[in-house]
């Protein structure tokens, strides 16, 4: 099994599925000759040619809207927004069209498109390059919203996303892009959209995270284990919408204590919906207030202070202790 970074794993998924299915095309800014600003699509132009790996003009609405048209015709476009912070220029094509064509045509047209984009902080980038606004997509009916946390899942989820008959927004945690390697099987591996995963078992506390923050949650869990003897169950959401509430609700029924971690701003963020589901489905098992460890309700500061903005292992630990003390 090759040992891959997330970038390589995503490229692997793209390459394998493009070999598999000639309806898969890639489009975006600098995805061809340049191989993408993070080199995710490196080499694909050479293998598949400029008609399938399309360098578009600098126009996000074009990228989104053109993908909708391609999908209507029967292609499976995988388009790239260079950074999630620029995807808003094409937001209306996603909200008003990608998510609605099946409905609007009463099933005649489906939109099997994927919108890939790097999101999140941690790579010392410029303004707009560190955003985590998955809610804009997660709150939009008709879309699926996926955020992998490591290479292997990224590959398996991207395959699922490309094959999905409906539009999938695929956020790639850029802080994880080159952070570590994982064994990724050469043979096809697909992970279903809409399923979360228990990545660490524990009976004292439920921790829910996704994307780059999963790793901080894991570090916090290890520390809690070592220093406090607390067994934290860690759940990797993987799909934000449709949200898999079965695993975390069950875990909370067991532990009674919950900490949720994400780097997006707190108010109206994903943690709120998770808390709502916990109230709806595990209310009587909750023993203490659920804790949110998230980005603050401010614009993420420029990179000199981005680590202070991001939930740190220690902030997570401190929140965990707070809820366990209650």
């Amino acid at each position: 099994m090759p040992n891959l970074t997330m970038i390589e794993a995503i490229r692997m998924a793209l390459r394998q599925e493009m070999r598999n299915d000639d309806s898969v095309v890639i489009l975006g800014e600098d995805v061809g000759v340049d191989g993408g600003v993070f080199r995710v699509t490196d080499g694909l132009l050479d293998e598949f040619g400029p008609e399938r790996v399309i360098d578009t003009p600098l126009a996000e609405s074009l990228i989104g809207g053109c993908s909708v048209g391609m999908a209507i015709y029967g292609l499976r476009p995988v388009c790239e927004m260079q950074f999630s912070g620029f995807s808003y220029l094409g937001f209306h094509q996603i909200e008003s069209h990608a998510s609605r064509f099946r409905r609007r045509s009463q099933g005649r047209f489906q939109i099997p498109m994927v919108v890939r984009m790097p999101y999140g902080a941690g790579v010392r980038a410029l303004e707009h390059h560190s955003e985590s606004k998955e809610i804009y997509y997660a709150h939009t009916p008709g879309l699926k919203m996926v955020i992998p946390s490591g290479p292997r899942k990224a590959r398996a989820l991207l395959l699922a996303a490309i094959r999905d008959p409906d539009p999938v927004i695929f956020f790639e945690p850029k802080a994880v892009y080159r952070a570590f390697r994982e064994e990724v099987p050469d043979r096809e591996e697909v992970f279903p959209i809409g399923e979360s995963e228990i990545v660490r078992e524990g009976k004292d506390l439920t921790m829910i995270a996704y994307g780059a923050m999963l790793h901080r949650a894991m570090e916090a869990a290890e520390l809690l284990d070592k220093e406090d003897g607390v067994g934290a169950e860690v759940i990797d959401l993987l799909t934000i919408s449709p949200l898999d509430d079965s695993k975390f609700c069950e875990s909370a029924r067991k532990t009674g204590h919950v900490v949720i971690v994400h780097e997006a701003p707190r108010s109206f963020g994903a943690a709120a919906e998770i808390m709502a589901r916990l109230i709806e489905k595990s209310f009587y098992y909750l023993e203490a207030p659920i804790e949110r460890v998230t980005g603050f309700d401010i614009h993420i500061p420029y990179f000199a202070r981005e680590q202070e903005y991001l939930p740190s292992r220690d902030r997570i630990v401190s929140a965990a202790r707070r809820t366990l003390e209650k």
């Binding site: 292609l75 005649r108 449709p242």
Partner: protein
Amino acid sequence: MPRNHVEVPGVVDYLSILNEDGKVDEELDPDLPKELLREFHRKMVLSRRFDERLLRLQREGKVGTFAPIRGQEAAQIGTVSCLEKEDWLVPAFRETAALIWRGASLSDIFLFNAGFNEGGRIPEEANVLPIAIPVATQILHAVGIAYAIKYRKRDQIVLTYFGDGATSEGDFHEGLNFAGVAGLPVVFVCQNNQYAISMPREKQTKSRTIAQKAFAYGIPGVQVDGNDVLAVHTVAREAAQRARGGGGPTLIECVTYRLAVHTTADDPTKYRSQKEVDEWEKREPLIRLQKYLRQRGILDDQAVNSDEEEAARQIDEAWKATKDRIDELTDPLAMFDYLMADLPPYTKEQKEAFERFLATREAD
């Protein structure tokens, strides 16, 4: 100060063949086949009457807000008639005549306007998109389809409609630019009906014509009398041939006029004079076509009557059928259909809870 000049295309063609009295410029007459001309007439009559019926139904509260086409029939029939069956049509929201030409079900249109998603159904074999309400956004779908056609090397083209107002939106720009640089088989038809709701064409943009906006994308742009179905068809046929032959996109500006309200929620007396409307009534496309057809001996009173009767019959039948369909569409749970291939679990829970709620409501 002397300078070097860079030559760029600096001329917009303007084509007009029929004058206001339906008199043809003999030199320019494209001499279209009689049966085609007769079909123009049939479909223009049908579209006109259907539009009138919708308006009446709206005033009676039986259908909702809609965008009448009165006055724009030639711009639509003249262009859409250049498409082959396999070609794609990407409408905005004011193209009832074009949809009718492509065989749309009148009853579906009625149903849609009565507020039912079911009316938006697109039949399997029809290469037509549902109407697009966010202005100019559909242009990008046309471009995407055109790209896919080129990629699949199919013998198809795409035609998309939008208004004069739409040309101010970023999506217009992004779409035409990419179509130009990628050489896509698409015909962009701007129905310049002089207004975007209350905004007159002159305040929408300072460019003298809309056609010249094509130069920004290195593609041909042409202006045509949009109430002259012969001229429109001639120009559109050229553009369609260009697209089909690998010559890339064309921007056509049909100079026309919206004779009716913007939508049924609109009051045009706020922004334009009756005199102006009267002037344009004189250039109205249906009578102009009729005059020409009579001159050419293709149409007489009897033929007009028969087309009118046939239109009335179809419309009556469609509305009757629609009422029956409405009576059957009583299940509110249908709103959960077609969200995605599979309804997500939590949405399904919502549907089931709502179903239980409905059951208790009925039990009360």
